[in-house]
Symmetry: C2
Subunit: 408 residues, 2 copies
């Protein structure tokens, strides 16, 4: 955490322990740094798992193996390496992951498909097997840590540790989700991969856990962007130990299923926002809401085109209500749009309605809104009922300083 | 031209006059500035026209009308307004364009579909009809100007005037192309729309002129990117007066047709490079060449993903041979790619081959290359025969300063 703490940082919340989940940290020494860099989380027998992974086609071995293992639906352990992403390392990288899976599975007496591994950090350098072996061995015997320690240990270029929690009632049983995440953009070589982990004591069948996570992902992690770049290792995993003792959730027909799905969504949204709030150089948190699109997916694509536009992001950095750049971004999205039905606003004040600037447009409340830290851009396409909200941050000199004033 | 001249600027070349083409400039006063801002080019009777236009769906009335008029194939005049883009102005903007078309057509006694209008500058403000009417009236009587004066007059945020020329032999007749262009990215409110105009004395049927321009566009203007943003008004028009006296070119079967098409391509490539060389904040000109793709179009998409990546562009600004960011950009392009066949190089030196960093990688020549102004990034996907080259510039503090340290 070499860079100053983001001005948009939130304090780490009080995260409850989750029955059946034991986090531990050690220093494997993947980099020459005086901090823990290996996180090990032991999970009770029978824990369900679900996962969503980067769509980047040049993904890491961790992602390939994780995606395959999620299909089996069960997990006993999670290992997160920080300081080396093990991406773009060919067969040697894959061997290092398989070694960790075998080592943990041997210790726990479980299938190796139940051991999940993530790595984040420099790319192109295979994860050193000896350091991994020794680190994992010590982690298996280490004392339990708290969630903030775990959040700090999975971090790389993050400027603050990130966690979120939520509860839900399943019948008369309260279940809890505690979750941590790391990521602040897509810096290489300290590739700021997004790695997120949800832990709950709810009893949930793997298929339904996957349904909840996938649905939440579509409206949260898939709706954030810092710089439009996509890591080769992005991963979010959800683990459900079942120790709360509720009747297992198997589908939306199960009592309490909707409440649980809402809690998953809530936690994912909190985590996603935290990543944006640690965007490189970010000074402002921006919500882009598109309504009136032909479909929700079309709305999401238009919102992402706006959120990824360097010209929109620099305009917000400059506190400039430049709706012309928003028009441009809408038009380039390639989705159905009609210039003469388009309305654009900032912070709830319309600047242009149905294709023309408002004659009585009062810029004062907009200027006031743009001087704040939490900015909203509203776009109505006037075509249908599709809507979406996407979150991003502004593009500032800080981004250039972090990413260009640097040698790998 | 408020910003300092780009360090990548080229001097304006000696552009020959073209028989049947008479450029003139006047000051219409669209903005409160002491410079000419209306360019009028009169074209001989029988001039063929072809055009390519922005794909931005929120395009201006000028683009809508120009696209419709090109279908008729003939042109007698071009009017370019600088200082007001007339985009996002609804029916009032359209009326202003139609007024100019009628005024010029009435003077020349031609169809109004033969009058082409472009506008560039602030958006959301209808082009003032009175200023346009008076400016056009004076332009119709003004003295002929030279190409550099015309290039300066169509410019807005450009830091240097841009022109290119080429010749071709059609039988024993030499034909000439002179061309000007403006654009330096997509700055709003002085939206740095790309407007380019080619003028030739060759006799060319409209259909074949369109074929030449469209083909050249695919490999030139469609292969440049400054900031991934797409103007609402981008336009390139080609005019052929036929005054050279060659047998009209009607297809690639016509003698000399290939030489003419090559000259059009050459001029378009020169113009496209000049726009990149005036990219906002650009310190380095970057050529991204992708080979081994499954198709040429797939190669172009991968090359654009690399060229548009803020992380790749900031790495080059930082003179950092960060091939990991290139891997990431390849993977996010969504085109066929195989991590284990991927090779990446800079300035002709491979950093990684077939999915792994080179063990004997010598960074010295790469570091030397990256300290220069003309940078090349080579990517081989190892899958097929598709290839493409895309040109861009680096992403620097200058870009942020121009686009964020500013109020509209």
């Amino acid at each position: 955490m070499a860079h100053p703490v983001s001005p948009l940082a939130s304090p780490f919340p009080a995260l409850p322990d989750i029955a059946g989940v034991t986090p531990r940290i050690v220093r494997a020494g993947y980099k020459d740094w005086g901090r823990c860099d290996l996180t090990y989380v032991e999970l009770a027998e029978g824990t369900s798992v679900a996962g969503v992974f980067t769509r980047n086609l040049c993904c890491s071995s961790e992602v390939e193996l994780g995606r395959a293992n999620v299909a089996f639906g069960r997990a006993r352990a999670l290992v997160v390496n920080a300081g080396n992403s093990n991406a773009f390392t060919g067969y040697r990288g894959r061997e290092a992951v398989e070694q960790i899976m075998d080592q943990v599975a041997g210790h726990l007496g479980c299938e190796r498909t139940q051991v999940f591994v993530s790595s984040t950090g420099v790319i192109g350098v295979p994860l050193p097997k000896d350091k991994a072996r020794e680190g994992v061995a010590r982690a298996l015997e280490a004392e339990r840590c708290n969630w903030e320690e775990a959040a700090n240990t999975i971090a790389t270029t993050d400027t603050f540790p990130k966690g979120a929690t939520a509860t839900a009632m399943i019948g008369d049983i309260e279940v809890t989700i505690s979750a941590i995440i790391k990521g602040s953009g897509m810096i290489a070589p300290d590739m700021a991969t997004m790695l997120g982990y949800l832990f709950t004591d709810a009893a949930v069948e793997p298929g339904f856990l996957q349904a909840c996570l996938s649905a939440a992902n579509e409206r949260t992690f898939s709706c954030i962007t810092v710089d439009s770049d996509t890591s080769t290792s992005d991963t979010v995993l959800a683990f459900a130990t079942g120790r709360a003792g509720n009747a297992p959730l198997a589908s939306f027909q199960s009592p309490g299923a909707h409440a649980f799905a809402a809690a998953v969504h809530d936690v994912c949204r909190q985590l996603a926002h935290l990543v944006v709030r640690d965007g490189e150089g970010a000074q402002k948190f921006i919500a882009v809401t598109v309504t009136g699109a032909v479909t929700d997916e079309s709305a999401r694509k238009v919102a992402l085109a706006i959120a990824n536009s360097p010209l929109v992001k620099t305009a917000i950095a400059g506190e400039d209500a430049n709706w012309g750049r928003v028009v441009m971004a809408v038009g380039k999205a390639g989705e159905p749009a009609d210039r003469d039905r388009l309305s654009i606003g900032f912070g709830g004040t319309w600047a242009a309605r149905e294709g023309v600037p408002l004659a009585d447009y009062d810029e004062a409340p907009v200027a006031e809104h743009l001087r704040g830290q939490d900015i909203s851009i509203e776009v109505d396409l006037g075509l249908g009922d599709g809507s979406a909200t996407v979150w991003t941050c502004d593009l500032t000199h800080g981004y250039i300083s972090i990413n260009a004033d640097y040698r790998s």
